[in-house]
Point group: C2
Chain length 245, copies 2
């Protein structure tokens, strides 16, 4: 069995997220496993670097799978792109060390969250953005972002049920880039909790709208209470850009 | 009756083009007329600056309509965006002179045609681009573009049946902008014949693939023969950017 590393793009809108579910064929992982199983003539498990929620997109998701095949990486890429639906694409296939594990070996990830700050529609970007009509205070959001960066217990910023697993993560960078009426938020870190980016985004937007002070970020982090943080931002604005190893 | 000028965006994928058809409700003009008729409580005709083909998008289409209404332009914009499907959006409503006619008064238009020049999928851009796997020679396309600019009889570059109407147009600019593996083609002119931009694009791409010499453009123009020009490029790569008055 050879171990292959896949770099993937997908548009999340039609799927119930990354993770295979018993009740539904309609997941990215499910689609990839069905196709690779067909290619190899035996059941294949695909391991992703992490789950993405229903509706979240990817330009650089990484996965790996152990395959019984004679095909070259280039042939596998071509085969997959020929048969995958047009909202899932493979942009790289590499042969990896047999011990390579896309989740356990991941050192960091970058997500982008894209906001359109305008009362006017942006028809061609609507699937990949969150539209906010009221003007956002970018400087206030930048001050909040600075307080969120670093190594913290992000328990307040996850929807995951309490467990013994650590909720400490390092948010290495939270970069806010306005381009006209579009604002891109880049989140880079060593790992992200369930819903973490979307709750951070919801909280930042409430700060940008003047509903919160940037200084509150410190209190929210210290509280570890989900109810003190902001609302969950919509999935469609979020894109997994890169997984680093 | 007051005359209103509308600036519109739409994603063409779900529609059979701009122009109302008897057999189908599924046109941009049809959607706008149905909504404005409902708003005004009487039949409304919407005049577009020109038709766009099925599948072609717009970021700056212009239309006008004479309406019996007390609403302000801002109220009309809000009403329309509240009820239009999400793939049609109104970005500006202005009250215009009663003689303003969006087609007859148009002085020029700009279209963008977007190509992805890569064998790899670009999942999030697939709806708005034409993907070409083989490498394109941008310099050859630029030389061809220079020969196409200016005032010419573009009879070879239209699918319209022969008629007495003039097929002379001025292509003021044909700008080719590569950005990584994306190439944007901007066409600005005083008017465009049926399918003209898409046939120009098909011909440019054949030049970029080395199937034609740039110098052929002069011969194709002089021939006035459709069969000498290139194939019709797919609608989905084309976006009407601006109409000038």
């Amino acid at each position: 069995m050879r171990n292959f590393k896949f770099t993937l793009q997908y548009e999340g809108g039609r799927y119930q997220g990354w993770q295979r579910q018993e009740s539904s064929e309609n997941t990215i992982q499910g689609k990839l496993e069905a196709l690779l199983s067909k290619m190899c003539g035996q059941p294949v498990k695909v391991q992703g670097s992490g789950r993405t929620d229903a509706g979240v997109h990817a330009l650089g998701q990484v996965a790996n799978a152990h395959l019984e095949t004679d095909k070259t990486p280039g042939e596998i890429l071509e085969y997959m792109n020929a048969y995958l639906p047009e909202d899932i694409g493979v942009i790289k296939v590499e042969e990896a060390d047999e011990r390579f594990h896309s989740r356990l070996n991941a050192k960091g990830k970058t997500y982008r969250y894209r906001v359109i700050n305008s009362p006017l529609p942006h028809v061609l970007e609507r699937r990949y953005t969150w539209s906010i009509a009221e003007p956002l205070d970018v400087e206030a959001m930048k001050r909040a972002a600075e307080l969120l960066c670093g190594t913290h217990d992000f328990a307040a910023f996850t929807s995951a049920k309490k467990s013994r697993k650590s909720t400490v993560r390092t948010l290495e960078e939270l970069r806010i880039e306005p381009h006209g009426d579009k604002i891109d938020f880049y989140f880079s870190g060593d790992g992200f909790l369930f819903h973490m980016v979307r709750i951070l985004m919801g909280t930042l937007i409430e700060t940008g709208l003047g509903q919160r002070r940037p200084e509150e970020m410190t209190e929210i982090l210290a509280s570890k209470k989900r109810e003190l943080a902001g609302a969950l931002a919509p999935a469609q604005g979020l894109t997994l850009m890169e997984v680093r190893y």
